[in-house]
Symmetry: C2
Subunit: 319 residues, 2 copies
């Protein structure tokens, strides 16, 4: 007898994620009830990931569960928000209990680590896709936004870029790598790590912030467009991991670093006066200064020749 | 040149729904920012509707846009909540501008009527599905829940049941109907009307409440299970529309009224002392008293013979 919707929810999704005192009613009613802290604004993000579009169809449930929450955690990190409550919309072709167990474990592990309670959602039958909504909060008026970068601000990015693109290329057989480099790149694609504590540390410091999900070039373009500004950056400052350079070579690593998606690092701007404060942040991973914001719209990369088409990022409806 | 994701969102989903002063940041950043009213709790619902599962694949975008929000409005109505902010997760195979225009219009019209602002979401490529998250609020502690029915409480339902099931049967060629009856049944399936103001009026009155989305029998079973109680009901009190009885005949109308889904009426319980107050509610549509809650678990229908299998409702993973 196949697993019914009620049993499926009860078995895999009741009491998942962190236990939070501000959850008044969780999974099992028509809706969830939460009590956000006083003096805050709510921050809400929704991301959908689809099999064959955002992850290969044969991806383990564990990685899909992790990714569905991680991409939303990254959105909230870019706002400087504290994540708290999630709703899961899971569409799957059949109730495969092994896959579901892995999926629930991947989601649950990340949710617990980031203090997120799974409070509700919907499971339905159809082509495999996960649409997750994450809610969190910021002290009133303190959210980071894409708009706000001013001429003279410096441009920063966390971690390294291009690694997830390298991991995807390995999975798709377009790139060879061995040993530790292979593991590191695969992990960056399969288990993205949101920069939540960095985002919160940037409240009151960064003038603009965006998470790098569609590639550095594309997301930098969005940050500049939102602020009506441009940027002048040095390709030599691009943070590329030794693993990526070893696997792909310097030229391809640079291309991946600029154009590949799924990094989930934070790209932000801050006035030069904030440089010492930023360098002193107890941030894991480390932060790199790429260049500066200019009053003239348009992004210029100085250093290695960058082809024009790298300025365009990933677009689900064009590519 | 195909429509890009950015242009698609800008053209079809920016500034949709109601304009609300408590929206600090809407569509276009990494996440939305809202400022809920003081003294309230947040109520959050997520529903996914999938082409071929929840609506026929050739359904007009207008009806799909309406339905995606209506099913969530119905969930919030069942909590007695005031709806306010929505996030849209739209997955579609290609950016068909006519379909998108119809979809956005269907969503926008209903959102404006119910004071809901579209504040964010995600569009992605894949098999047609809509996962919508709706957030709203209740005065702290006043939400209606499924649990709470007590022995002796009376059982009420709004409107008529089975009409949407009749409409779906017409669309699928399983039922014939003409003229006004046909139109009425089709409309009940294609343009469900959430019972939002009724839900709010029931705060402090109803002891338990659920929306009837999977069929009266199934949802009544859930309400009873949540409260650890049973119910004794009269089939003669089942509110069946003249249109449904004319199209399907009395027996089939009763079956549809008990077992068909998509009614989106409110099923609730209240003590007998509240009967006059309930009858005096300025409720559109009218309310019917079906019977009473019993201390013994299990649902008994008295009157016309009801087959055992009608006690089971629709389950996406069993049917």
């Amino acid at each position: 007898m196949p697993l019914g919707e009620f049993e499926l929810i009860e078995r895999f999704f009741a009491n998942r994620g962190a236990t939070r005192g501000d959850v008044r009613l969780a999974v099992g009613d028509d809706a969830a009830i939460i009590a956000p802290p006083a003096g805050t604004e709510l921050v809400l993000a929704l991301d959908t990931i689809v099999s064959g579009v955002h992850f290969p169809p044969d991806t383990s449930g564990r990685f899909v569960g992790h990714r569905a929450l991680a991409v939303n955690l990254s959105d909230l990190a870019a706002m400087g928000a504290t994540p708290a409550w999630a709703l899961l919309g899971l569409t799957l072709p059949a109730a495969d209990e092994n896959w579901l167990g892995d999926f629930a474990a991947g989601l649950d592990g990340l949710a617990k680590r980031f203090g997120v309670a799974l409070v509700g959602g919907d499971t339905t039958r159809g082509p495999l896709a996960v649409s997750l909504t994450l809610a969190g909060w910021v002290p009133t008026g303190q959210a980071l936004r894409r708009a706000g970068a001013r001429a003279g601000d410096e441009v920063w990015i966390s971690g390294t870029v291009g690694d997830a693109g390298g991991g995807l290329a390995i999975l798709q057989g377009r790139l060879d790598a061995d040993g530790a480099a292979r593991e590191q790149l695969l992990q960056r694609f399969l288990l993205p790590e949101p920069r939540t504590s960095l985002g919160q540390a940037l409240r009151g410091v960064a003038t603009a912030c965006i998470d790098v999900s569609d590639g550095l070039a594309a997301d930098l373009g969005r940050l500049c467009a939102a602020g009506g500004v441009g940027a002048v950056l040095e390709t030599g400052r691009l943070p590329l991991s030794a693993a990526l350079v070893a696997a792909a070579g310097a030229d391809a690593a640079l291309r991946l670093g600029l154009a590949a998606g799924d990094d989930y690092e934070l790209l932000f701007t801050a006035p030069p006066a904030a440089r010492r404060l930023i360098e002193a942040l107890d941030s894991v991973p480390r932060l790199s200064r790429l260049g500066a914001i200019s009053a003239t719209p348009g992004v210029q990369w100085q250093g290695a020749t960058v082809e024009r088409d790298l300025a365009h990022g990933f677009d689900h409806f064009r590519n």
